[in-house]
């Protein structure tokens, strides 16, 4: 189990080789970071380039699958079990975050410039249109995972983002409808999901730098070192 507080580097913890086991895993982590940055940049637009977004998200999922396979695959025999469990949870948390990001795009339909009464005959049997007051049921899945994960990781997910200035998210441009799903959950998930899923996300470069450093494994205190991302 991880103790709360200083996060030790992965190499130290496992007592194993800090070098990536697989030569391709080193570039994978930087690719992962680049992809996350791209995802955030894409979401800065009110109407993101959907093709770009989907391709980056799919690539992220691919990397994540690879990491999961590596995490579950050949491991040093003396490595404790907890990190791999935490790895999986962090990875699935990432996955659910990607899904949540995409889920927000469902709001695009509601805010479409087409007048609602015109949209129906125009688009025929168009896809499910989100109710303005979105019930929390559909999004319970991914976010529930986060809330159950946090007790194991002991608020460490929150720690990733605690140094990020969240005042930028207290913004009038946020429609109440898109946040209604998030309001159902506790503060820990809120900041995490807002940070990752914010369509109005305006992380500036210094915050992103910090986030990337944390995820890659640069900084100590307060920072939950992204140990699963090697």
């Amino acid at each position: 189990m991880l103790a709360k507080g200083v996060k030790r580097p992965r190499g130290e913890m496992e007592g194993g080789d800090p070098e990536p086991r697989d030569p391709s895993a080193a570039p994978a982590s930087s690719l992962f970071n680049i992809s996350m940055v791209k995802l955030h940049q894409s979401l800065r637009h009110v109407e993101p380039n959907l093709r770009h977004l989907v391709l980056v998200a799919n690539t992220l999922r691919r990397m994540q699958d690879q990491m999961q396979r590596e995490a579950g695959g050949p491991m040093a025999p003396d490595s404790p079990e907890a990190p791999s469990v935490g790895d999986d949870l962090l990875l699935s948390a990432m996955d659910s975050s990607i899904s949540t990001i995409l889920e927000d795009l469902g709001q695009v339909e509601v805010l479409s410039p087409a007048r609602p009464e015109e949209e129906q005959p125009l688009a025929g049997a168009s896809g499910a249109r989100q109710e303005p007051a979105r019930t929390s049921a559909p999004c319970l899945g991914p976010l529930e995972l986060l809330s159950s994960a946090s007790y194991l990781l002991e608020d460490s997910l929150e720690d990733i983002f605690e140094d990020i200035d969240t005042s930028m998210y207290d913004c009038d441009l946020w429609s109440p409808t898109s946040l209604s799903g998030f309001k159902a959950f506790s503060g820990a998930e809120d900041s995490d999901s807002k940070a990752l899923a914010g369509a109005e996300d305006r992380l500036d470069m210094s915050d992103l730098d910090y986030l990337m450093d944390v995820l890659v494994g640069g900084h100590p205190p307060g920072a939950h070192r992204g140990r699963s991302i090697s």
Partner: protein, 453 residues
């Protein structure tokens, strides 16, 4: 040096060479964003060539009549009409600006003296009528020659206005505006062979329109998942079959093409044919999906084949064979080892288009460094040419270019690392019957012709 035979005119299969003909656009090193050409399209006869740019403007060039005193020099293309097709719009509800960039232009077949084309930005399609006026009426009763109303008491006799010749004026007027039907960004429009309907495709939906009706469209494909979090695939291009008015295809970001028959059901969510080449397991990487994403799909003129462009290759498919393409051409395979950098700088997401020549014997597509590639389907020869100011002397023969992929770089070769990835040729067009090509290089339009030996 042998070029790629277009065979569009008469002598098919003869070796010939491509020559510079014209270049349009500013020479400045400083390129204004609005001047970047975003689409190029010849009309059905090839006499008109339309370009659209990021600033929402359409420029139409017309081919001059052949000069009898210089029979060997083909007609030049000169500006025929320029108009502002789309303006930037502000969507107040979403607080975002809708770009005026022209994504596609498609001509309608000519039915009378006027010319019609469809132009589209991300959200709105417009039908433009381009007509000539070379006469004007003179001798109105109720108004003066300068348009001022005449005092009715001064009119003592009636006269019939007469038509007098005037300097040719080309007018473009919007005849139809097809708006509010796309939530996502429009990537394609395609005129049907019935000449009455057309389709427009965005990332998730395809709509069918009648050219006369602007307040309604029929949704024929909808791939939006019930939960957006399940979204993994978008539509990247769509086109009607050139002869069968009930058939169209659309391509996806996952490298698949679906052929649909509108007779089978109203909502064509279920395809009639599904084209996909199985992934080569040996070349699998994180970027496999991105590079397989199809950026353009074009039917051959014959209607028997279709061509798709993905990031590294062009594939020709026989409509009767769904499991693999019949021909694959590598455009710039040397980029495969650079995919990581190209992903970082977003070049891997560039959407290259492709086109057929008039006889379907050759295909063309663009690359980086202002290079473009042509493939002869019969001889299997390919050539790389460059659109540059350096080789822009009248009727100068274009020299084939070569990219050095490793080892010793020969003279005249360019190494992969020296390629300018900002100079990308995304849009090219081939004259419907002759060997004349239009190549858009950022803000310049190059026109090349063949020179028969």
């Amino acid at each position: 040096m042998a070029g790629v035979a277009g065979g569009g005119g008469g002598g098919g299969g003869n070796d010939f060479q491509w020559c510079f003909s014209q270049v349009k656009g500013a020479i400045d090193e400083d390129v204004a964003e609005a001047d970047i050409i975003s689409t190029v399209e010849f009309n059905y006869s090839g006499d008109l060539l339309a370009t659209g740019d990021k600033g929402g403007r359409v420029v139409i060039f017309q081919r001059e009549q052949e000069n009898k005193s210089r029979p060997h020099s083909r007609g030049e293309y000169n500006v025929y009409s320029t108009f502002q097709s789309h303006e930037p719009e502000f969507d107040y509800l979403k607080s975002l600006e809708i770009e005026e960039k022209i994504n596609k232009i498609r001509w309608l077949p000519q039915q009378n003296a006027a010319h019609f084309l469809l132009s589209t930005n991300d959200k709105t399609i417009k039908l433009w009528k381009i007509s000539e006026r070379d006469k004007r009426a003179e001798g109105y009763n109720l108004k003066d020659e300068d348009g001022r109303l005449r005092d009715p008491f001064r009119i003592t006799s009636l006269r019939v206005p007469i038509l007098k010749p005037m300097d040719l004026m080309v007018e473009a007027s919007p005849r139809r505006i097809f708006a509010n039907a796309h939530t996502y960004h429009i990537n394609s429009i395609s005129v049907n062979s019935d000449h009455e309907t057309y389709l427009s495709a965005d990332d998730l939906r395809i709509n069918l329109w009648h050219l006369e009706i602007t307040d309604r469209s029929f949704n024929i494909v909808d791939i939006k998942p019930a939960n957006m979090e399940e979204l993994t695939e978008v539509i990247t291009a769509a086109e009607f079959h050139p002869h069968h008015c009930n058939v169209f295809v659309y391509s996806s970001s996952k490298g698949t093409i679906r052929l649909c028959d509108m007779r089978s059901s109203a909502l064509c969510d279920r395809h009639s044919k599904f084209f996909e080449e199985p992934e080569d397991p040996s070349s699998r990487s994180f970027f496999s999906e991105i590079i397989s994403s199809i950026s353009d799909v074009k039917f051959s003129h014959s209607g028997r084949y279709m061509m798709t462009r993905d990031y590294l290759s062009v594939k020709v498919w026989d409509l009767n064979m769904e499991n693999r393409p019949v021909e694959t051409y590598q455009v710039h395979e040397y980029l495969r080892s650079k995919l990581c950098s190209l992903y970082e700088n977003d070049c891997i997401f560039d959407k290259f288009e492709c086109c057929w020549n008039g006889s379907d014997s050759a295909i063309m597509t663009g690359s980086y460094n202002n290079f473009f590639r042509m493939f002869d389907r019969n001889t299997r020869r390919d050539i790389t040419l460059e659109a540059s100011r350096e080789s822009s002397k009248p009727r100068a023969i274009l020299k084939p270019r070569k990219v050095c992929t490793g080892g010793k770089r020969k003279k005249d070769e360019i190494s992969v690392d020296s390629l300018d990835f900002n100079k990308k040729i995304l849009h090219t067009a081939w004259h419907p019957t002759e060997n004349i090509i239009a190549v858009a290089a950022t803000n310049n339009l190059y026109i090349f012709q063949d020179k028969i030996n």
